[in-house]
């Protein structure tokens, strides 16, 4: 691994040098250090070729596997050496391990043959003369960004690009400037007037309310709110409604979801190993809560980047801050990558890409391999950031061989919860003790009962085994210390023989104890050697004929003068062959009373054991909520932190210069380098991102908010503010509202309020041929674009109409899953485990690879990607899932039932249905259609369900007019 800090490499290199040192023999060599040996020429002609030819294969970045973590391909690496000392000590031949190694004194290097004497002498001369090595020229040491950046990028010219310019406060056009709601309309109207376009008038009040409530809460307005609003559709009332909607918890659920798109939120890893993200939901809740409490956006950004490093006043703050860093962890990772150095850099890359696009609206990934081709981002900027994330711990340990996992950070927990856990642990322990006691007692009594039957018992431990038999105690009923089985393998090769001498001649019943089960053999060959000779029988071990553990083999005559033998073979078996004990019961013995007190006791004990077993299971299932841990990041240990090498062409092994940690130069006012990182550098990165003068962070979030409410961003490529993105349609407006946003403390609710209270937001979506002629793409917002309701809100609205929406949040939504949500075996599927639920969509678990078809077809964000703006597709499969999915049918049926039970009058039923699904009254045409479809007929329940299904699948249901 080469993208490491020098500090770390020192640590890695201890192995070989340690070994070299241990055998070091000091010897003085008279070396004539001639002048020539102190020249670069000497190194180039005598030393470097030898290193390349004989050493690099195992000791360079080109090595397939670096032996003993020793690199000899840079002067820095040679001089650093390991803990035990440097590989060379310039000027001191005998103290140089490299020399003693090639002399075959300490170790024997190179291993395939000692170098010629002349070559060794050259090395001695070279070390004696100071080990001149051009590879230690400043260019290969840590270089300043300026030096490293021998790129074609002209940063000064780059800064001229609009997005890297500071926010400008212009003067609001028209005179309306002083009132709060005037800013937006003033800028928009100004441009519309210039273009000579008359904007649309306000939409009707029904449409406006529907638009507003969906936009702010992701839910339709209730009939009650519709009534209230329609009775007074005034601007004052509008503001009142806006304020009350902003104060509902549903606001954060809806707007939090917008951010979760950008954060590529999911409850599992996806990719090669679909590991469960058990703690991701805490981040989901943190995001929702942040929107609800209107956490200042700069704080929100800083916490997600470096919350774990920030001071906290109390447990709640600490909890929030640590959980916030889950943001950096949510990406999908190739956890089974065996090359861990590559995996680490891939994770770093994903984090840089996410930070770049989520906060800066820039694609930084390109710069991993070369200078950004379109934006002024040199590759050194990328590695300045990479150093920060390389110094951050995102992976830790393995969940199984080669499969990486991540650290779990303990979170503050309440005393009550800790006490609950202690109590729970104690309860479990007590129950298990009781269970053990009952089991022991049961076994003892069982044996007593068996003994009372008389006869002779031969256990597997006393039997003669041939072939492979495996001990087991898996099944709880057995004689002695356990039983054996054939592992369902080596068919025909294993047998077990039970032999005894019986005390009297006569007839005996032979019983075998074995555990039953579906995977057992139904054809176990039993050979009984009795007075009559050998008898071969077949025993079905899938069940017992005598509960709980015995099967009768048959009755046979035995003589006391010869051995009574029972042999079990696994030839022809079709499952596991089990062998526990064989019992010979004399038929002459007095009949056993089935109801001996002892037998009753056994049954009581057996009941007790099964009850206790169930109780333990139940108690374990009802464990208190897990002690909270976060899927958060942390700084690595100080010796593992450091600057990162450039990886040339992005290849981990291809090491370039070290770049000090820092940020993007093009949008940094002063220096972009962190002079003295306080840790990984994330704190400094957070401070850089939230600098009020940062040209991108505020513009990007304000533009996203604008897009969610106005259909398109002012910069329509919301995730790309670079030169390949689009230019803002209204740069002055974007700057004006962004500046106001920052000055007002980075709070989103006032911004949202300002937008939804503007005239522009209220405009109708009506088509105007004249305006389309001039501005076909509606870049000037002469109308409100018709917008798609997000997938979650479409589903929620169906559940709402059905009266089945459960608004409660979920906690630990993927608790039922183990390490993986879906194993990599051929039969495993997360679908089987995901229970149906009617929570709001944002609270449903989001398993990568198993996003419900309804969601994906309606363009829900793909958590494998960072989605600032969702695509809007119309595909046949979307129509199919809406029209034919059993879920939609069920919700339609419930909705129809509600409509029918609402009232007996057809008109009122239809009004209720339209106001519940489309938030408007049915038109005459709608009423006519309903009649045509037969909704007014008797016994039309099925038709109502069909009609509602069609409404759910209609464009009007999923579009905001």
């Amino acid at each position: 691994m080469r993208c490491t800090s020098p500090i770390e490499r020192v640590r890695q290199k201890t192995l070989v040098l340690g070994a070299l040192l241990g055998l070091l023999v000091l010897e003085t060599a008279a070396v004539n250090a001639g002048d020539s040996a102190a020249s670069v020429d000497f190194f180039e002609s005598k030393i470097r070729p030898v290193l390349v030819k004989h050493c690099y294969e195992c000791h360079s970045s080109e090595a397939k596997e670096v032996r003993g973590s020793l690199w000899l391909d840079s002067s820095e690496a040679m001089r650093e050496g390991g803990d035990s000392g440097p590989a060379i000590d310039p000027g001191n031949v005998d103290a140089s391990l490299l020399i003693s190694a090639i002399r075959y004194e300490s170790s024997e290097m190179p291993p395939n043959g000692k170098l010629p004497a002349q070559t060794i002498a050259d090395f001695e001369a070279w070390v004696a003369a100071g080990a001149i090595d051009p590879r230690d020229m400043p260019t290969s040491k840590a270089v300043s960004q300026k030096e490293a950046m021998q790129s074609s990028i002209d940063l000064e010219a780059g800064r001229e690009f609009w997005a890297f310019q500071p926010l400008r406060s212009g003067s609001t056009p028209i005179l309306d400037g002083e009132s709060e709601r005037g800013t937006i309309d003033a800028y928009l109207l100004d441009r519309l007037q210039q273009a000579n376009i008359a904007p649309n008038v306000a939409a009707g009040p029904q449409a406006r309310l529907r638009r507003l409530v969906f936009d702010l809460t992701g839910l339709p307005p209730t009939i009650e709110l519709q009534d209230r609003w329609m009775s007074d559709p005034s601007p004052v009332h509008w503001r009142k409604i806006v304020d009350s909607l902003l104060a509902t918890p549903q606001f954060g659920e809806h707007w939090g979801r917008h951010w979760l798109d950008v954060a590529r939120y999911a409850d599992s890893n996806g990719s090669d190993f679909n590991a469960t993200f058990h703690d991701a939901w805490r981040y989901r809740d943190y995001v929702i809560d942040s929107f609800n409490r209107d956490r200042p956006f700069d704080e929100f950004v800083a916490q997600q980047v470096a919350g774990d490093l920030m001071a906290a006043d109390n447990d709640q703050d600490r909890y929030d801050q640590v959980v916030a860093t889950t943001f950096l962890m949510l990406g999908t990772k190739m956890l089974s990558e065996r090359d861990k150095a590559k995996l680490e850099m891939d994770v770093v890359d994903e984090q840089i890409d996410t930070v770049g696009r989520a906060f800066l609206g820039l694609t930084l990934g390109c710069a991993r391999c070369h200078d950004h081709k379109f934006d002024p981002i040199p590759t050194t900027d990328y590695y300045a950031l990479a150093g920060i994330f390389r110094s951050t711990r995102s992976l830790e340990g393995e969940s199984q061989k080669y499969v990486s996992t991540w650290p779990r950070t303990p979170l503050p927990a309440s005393d009550e919860l800790i006490a609950l856990h202690d109590e729970h642990r104690q309860t479990i322990r007590r129950l298990k003790d009781e269970l053990k006691e009952a089991e022991t007692s049961l076994n003892t009594h069982k044996k007593a009962v068996q003994a009372s039957l008389g006869g002779v018992l031969v256990d597997d431990t006393d039997a003669v085994k041939v072939g492979k038999w495996t001990n087991s105690t898996n099944y709880k009923h057995f004689i002695g210390t356990g039983y054996v089985h054939d592992d369902n393998s080596n068919r025909g090769e294993s047998s077990i023989q039970y032999k005894t001498r019986l005390e009297a001649d006569g007839e005996y019943e032979i019983r075998m104890s074995h555990s039953p089960g579906a995977n057992r053999s139904s054809r176990v060959i039993v050979v009984v050697t009795s007075a009559a000779g050998d008898t071969e029988l077949l025993l079905d071990q899938r069940k017992n004929t005598l509960e709980p553990m015995w099967s009768t083999i048959g009755k046979f005559d035995f003589l006391k003068s010869s051995d009574a033998v029972v042999t079990i073979h696994n030839r022809d078996s079709d499952g596991y062959v089990i062998a526990d004990a064989i019992q010979f019961i004399p038929m002459a013995a007095p009949a056993v009373n089935e109801e001996t007190p002892s037998q009753q006791l056994v049954e009581q004990l057996a009941t007790q054991v099964s009850e206790l077993t169930a109780l333990v299971k139940e108690t374990e299932k009802n464990a208190p909520p897990s002690l909270p841990t976060a899927m958060g990041v942390a700084d690595r240990s100080t010796d593992a932190m450091g600057d990162c090498h450039v990886c040339i062409r992005g290849e981990v092994e291809n090491v370039g210069p070290v770049v000090p940690r820092g940020f993007l130069q093009v949008c940094s006012g002063g220096t972009a380098t962190i002079a003295q990182p306080s840790g990984s550098g994330r704190l400094e990165l957070a401070a850089w991102l939230t600098d009020p003068d940062h040209p991108l962070v505020s513009r990007v979030i304000v533009n996203r908010v604008w897009m969610h409410l106005m259909g398109e961003g002012i910069v329509r490529t919301v995730d790309n503010f670079g030169s390949r993105g689009e230019m803002p349609s209204h740069p002055e407006l974007l700057d004006a509202i962004s500046l106001k946003f920052v000055r007002n403390g980075w709070q989103l609710k006032p911004l949202i309020r300002e937008i939804v209270c503007s005239d522009a937001y209220s405009r109708s979506t009506a088509y105007s041929p004249e305006s389309v002629e001039v501005d076909p793409e509606n870049r000037l917002w002469w109308r409100m674009p018709r917008r798609r309701v997000p997938a979650e809100a479409i589903r929620d609205a169906m559940l709402y109409a059905a009266g089945e929406l459960d608004g409660r949040p979920t906690t630990e939504p993927v608790k039922a899953f183990g390490v993986l949500v879906s194993g990599n075996s051929a039969n495993d599927s997360a679908n089987d485990k995901a229970a149906a639920s009617y929570r709001r969509s944002v609270y449903e678990s989001l398993i990568r690879g198993y996003i419900p078809p309804l969601m994906t077809m309606l363009d829900a964000a793909d958590p494998d990607l960072i989605v600032g703006r969702r695509p809007t597709t119309n595909v046949p499969s979307q129509a199919l899932v809406l029209v034919n999915s059993p879920n939609v049918h069920r919700w339609a049926e419930s909705t129809a039932k509600r409509a029918l039970s609402h009232t007996m009058a057809f008109d009122e039923r239809l009004s209720w249905l339209y106001r519940t699904t489309l938030q408007r009254l049915p038109s005459d045409k709608d009423i006519e259609l309903a009649h045509q479809f037969g909704l007014d007929q008797l016994d039309s329940d099925d038709l109502w369900r069909e009609y509602v299904t069609a409404l759910f699948a209609s464009t009007e249901f999923r579009l905001l007019d």
Partner: protein, 465 residues
């Protein structure tokens, strides 16, 4: 997804223009037209870059990684040195030990061509003269996840569109009422949907999925039918259309509503057209027998292959038939590989024969292979570990040479050494056979143009007739 329109200029240039004008998301809903002419998926490339040899691809994905040294890559030295030490270094991160393991299957030369094929796959051996074996494949990824990503998406670590999605995007569907990209019984493991997904390409290019994890299941498109009578379903579709048309009438021209109206119409037509294509009972009992559709071990894969042929015949562009993640014999090589071969060998051979008989073979490219091969050295007692360093993949039909082998691995079959073919090269070649220059099939995302082969890929002309 876009709907093809007679008046729409579908050239690449205008396509790009549209993208930049409309922003990516709204691509899928571009203009609508007379629904009678709409195709399920319109092509992005309307005039081929190079002469197309194939119109469609069937990828027989042997998920898990079948052993090349036990199928197509004959290594006499492996038999000679069985149990001896591998005379060179193992690649890193392996659990195998450097002890050579000869497999239990005999190799012999087959057909006129004399291609070496082992007894593990006797049926494929019989059609050896129709096969084009690449013996010098290599790829990225020592673990399944990466290598499966490589073969299916061209990326071992990043989320990228699948090969089928790229081809669907490039060529569109060849059938008015069917999707262009179908995945039959794909595994849920190792990326699952990502391996047939569209990533940042429009969603319509992701595969329609039939069955799962190597199991054919009911063989139906999800949500194509629903409870209730066919009439009832049709009435429901008609009602939705009426509602949407009324909505459109009220709003005036609106591309989203128009797109939705088309989508409902297409779905309705697909609902009527697809069951016929998907109905395997329309095939003769002789055909069923040939594919091994008999309720036995070949039944599931046989159905997959037969459906693949029917889809190919109907114009679907890219069909994957996955064996499920079963070829991963780290132990029990003999029993495991035998079981997998028993399940797939006959259907694969039957598919090739069937395509030939129907005249489809010439323009259908069949690809057989896993995400990597297996080590010639032993893991555990009788297993082989993953080997992305060198392995075989087999092509057939679609403009490639027949009865032909290309490239070599070293004398034990470990590393690809001569005429090496990287997975990117295979992808470039597949696109080339379809008439597409892999450097020109691009899509703008996140500020730059992406392609299936990233910055790599060489068309292996030596394979082409």
């Amino acid at each position: 997804m876009r709907y093809a329109l007679p008046q729409l200029d579908n050239s690449r240039r205008s396509f790009v223009k549209q993208i930049s004008a409309m922003t990516l998301g709204s691509l899928a809903i571009s203009a609508s037209g007379p629904t009678g002419t709409a195709s399920a998926i319109a092509p992005a490339i309307t005039s081929p870059h190079v002469r197309p040899r194939a119109k469609r691809v069937i990828f027989l994905f042997m998920h898990g990684g079948p052993s090349h040294v036990d199928t197509f890559d004959y290594k006499p030295l492996l038999a000679r040195d069985d149990g001896k030490e591998l005379p060179f270094a193992l690649p890193p991160n392996l659990d195998a030990v450097p002890t050579l393991l000869n497999g239990p299957w005999k190799f012999s030369q087959r057909g006129q061509s004399g291609l070496w094929v082992s007894d593990l796959i006797p049926e494929m051996a019989k059609v050896a003269d129709d096969l084009c074996v690449i013996r010098s494949m290599y790829t990225k990824g020592q673990s399944h996840g990466q290598a499966v990503g490589m073969v299916n998406t061209g990326s071992d670590n990043l989320v990228r569109p699948s090969v089928g999605a790229w081809i669907s995007y490039a060529l569109g569907s060849g059938h008015a009422d069917l999707p262009a990209h179908v995945a039959i019984s794909p595994a849920t493991a190792h990326g699952g949907p990502r391996n047939y997904g569209s990533a940042f390409l429009p969603a319509a290019h992701q595969a329609t999925v039939i069955g799962q994890n190597g199991k054919f299941g009911d063989g139906k498109i999800p949500y194509l039918s629903s409870a209730g009578s066919d009439e009832q379903t049709q009435r429901r579709f008609d009602l939705v259309r009426t509602m949407n048309e009324r909505h459109l009438a009220a709003t005036g021209p609106d591309s989203e509503i128009e797109g939705a109206i088309d989508a409902v119409e297409l779905a309705s037509r697909m609902r009527r057209a697809a069951p016929e294509v998907f109905d395997l009972d329309r095939e003769s009992s002789a055909t069923h027998a040939a594919y091994g559709i008999n309720g036995g071990v070949t039944d599931s894969y046989g159905r997959g292959c037969l459906l693949a042929r029917r889809l190919a015949e109907s114009g679907v562009r890219f069909i994957t038939v996955s064996s499920g993640q079963v070829w991963d014999q780290h132990g029990g090589l003999k029993a495991g590989h035998q079981k997998n071969a028993n399940a797939t060998d006959q259907p694969v051979a039957a598919l090739i024969r069937d395509l030939k008989q129907r005249g489809l073979w010439d323009d259908t490219l069949v690809i057989w292979g896993g995400e990597f091969g297996r080590t010639p050295v032993v893991q555990g007692k009788d297993g082989r570990d993953h080997n992305p360093q060198g392995f075989s993949m087999v092509l057939s039909g679609g403009g490639v040479k027949a009865g032909f082998a290309y490239g070599t691995t070293d004398e034990y079959g470990y590393y690809s050494v001569e005429n090496r073919v990287h997975m990117h090269d295979l992808h470039a070649t597949v696109l080339h056979l379809l008439g597409i220059d892999h450097t020109r099939l691009t899509y703008p995302y996140a500020g730059r143009e992406f392609r299936l082969t990233d910055v790599h890929g060489r068309v292996v002309n030596e394979l082409i007739t």
